[in-house]
Subunit: 283 residues, 2 copies
């Protein structure tokens, strides 16, 4: 890995670059980003060695694509057009179906590995990049069999060095499950934030009365709309399904309250307490 290119030097790309620096200390790390200030900031922070352009991609041994998923769909084929025969291209987007679809007939499909590292924070930009972000986290790999053996192996070496555990899924299954465990959480958080902001015009009152519970449930409402709008667009069908079910559960809870069926309210909560056991696996 002499030449590593990071496309999108934000939270995920920047954190990847930090880890690549540690693993491949001899490598040159170049950054590509449509925001010039992100590139100069990433150089200042020592995340990348230099700024590059798409024309330089032909020199790449490894390309990590960490940009919004609509841009990935647009840029990924262009990257595959430009790379050499031995190069490995990895994307880290939060959707997988459209991304795999757009390159399925590309002559360089075997140079590409579709992944989704389940890691991140609610912050964005190169300043948000941290070391060890991926340690102990899950990386979901899709359509592994479409990637050349040698490049599968190279990618797995990288993920092992990052400290990630690997799960293999089909793109369709990935997008359906992730809608529940990630995309819906973001919408519930954004809409909770909206509901409270609309009501509580006096913001001083909000934070005087709000505790750590509120902070925890609305944390994701700080997330970047630039990143999330394309995710919701690409995963529209699944996300709408999760929203229907979520709204239906909320309506049901409300109905129980309206009917003063507080045994029902109790059961709803008691049954969901089971989440404790599940969350033990995450913490």
């Amino acid at each position: 890995m002499k030449e590593i290119f990071i496309i999108g030097v934000g939270l995920i790309g920047g954190s990847m670059a930090n880890d690549m620096r540690r693993i491949y200390s001899e490598s040159k790390i170049s950054g590509i980003d449509n925001k010039a200030e992100h590139l100069s900031r990433a150089i200042e922070l020592g995340i990348i060695d230099e700024a590059a352009s798409m024309a330089d991609i032909r020199r790449a041994d490894l390309v990590i694509l960490a940009i919004p998923v609509d841009s990935t769909v647009e840029i990924l084929p262009q990257i595959l057009d430009r790379i050499g025969d031995e190069a490995l291209v990895i994307d880290v987007g939060s959707t997988k179906e459209d991304i795999c679809e757009v390159v399925k007939d590309h002559p360089k499909r075997r140079n590409f590995l579709a992944t989704h590292p389940i890691a991140g924070t609610e912050f964005s930009g190169p300043e948000a990049a941290i070391e060890g972000l991926f340690r102990g986290k899950t990386n979901i790999i899709c359509e592994v069999e479409e990637t050349a053996f040698k490049l599968q192996e190279a990618a797995l070496d990288i993920f092992r060095e990052l400290g990630m555990r690997i799960r293999y899924m089909k793109p369709k299954a990935h997008d359906r499950h992730i809608a529940y465990v990630s995309h819906l959480s973001h919408i519930s958080s954004f809409m909770l934030g909206k509901t409270v902001i609309e009501k509580e015009k006096n913001e001083r009152d909000i934070f005087d009365m709000a505790g750590s519970g509120f902070e925890s449930t609305v944390r994701l409402a700080k997330s970047s709309p630039d990143m999330w709008t394309p995710i919701f667009r690409q995963n529209k069908t699944n996300v709408i399904e999760t929203l229907n079910e979520y709204i239906c559960n909320l309506e049901n809870f409300k109905k129980l309250m309206e009917q003063e069926d507080f045994d029902g309210v109790y059961s709803e909560m008691k049954n969901t307490n089971y989440i404790k056991k599940i969350l033990k696996g995450i913490e």
Copy 2:
């Protein structure tokens, strides 16, 4: 404060007892709880000195009532019936209107102070009690003018020692605002947990795919139904109103997605990002 009685030796009562021990090292701390195992556990953990019964309350200088709010409404008048003329009784319940209402004509009303410390975790029972839980947190005091001057002063001394900042509100306003910043968060979290559990029968898949974002949004779904059912019952009207607005915002978000209005989806998130600024005040 020679004799302190803690009624309900769980997360809040137990944490209060821990702080009382530090502030009033000479005091005897007695516990009353309808769960015998909570009392013996609290004694083992050094949270209380001994178990007591309602008949002993007459000796109390300070009574802290930290039980579910339906029990508070039932027990508070009985406590006021039994205490001496100089005793201070404080409740720490998450609703205030019904609690203030039930004692408004009690001859010992002036011995009572209605408070809501905005502090806690999703855990419960004496094991959940921690030191310093209240430091830097807000305590909302309701109807302060109904409490005797000398006892107001004694209570404020305690809260200052606990490191709390004080806000004064009317019970009705407290219940309306807290429905938004606390009660709704709990329901959104419980129903999010329910939606995911229903869908993801294979729990191993949930926690392999779920990241810290999901963990954060469903954290409150671990909360105690015994504590929360009576809160929702007492604050029914306000909570139903917040649920209506929350569901309406979710429906609107879904409609934007169905209409493929992703500029609209972007704006919804962008406008709510403003929550960052508000949350700075909480963190």
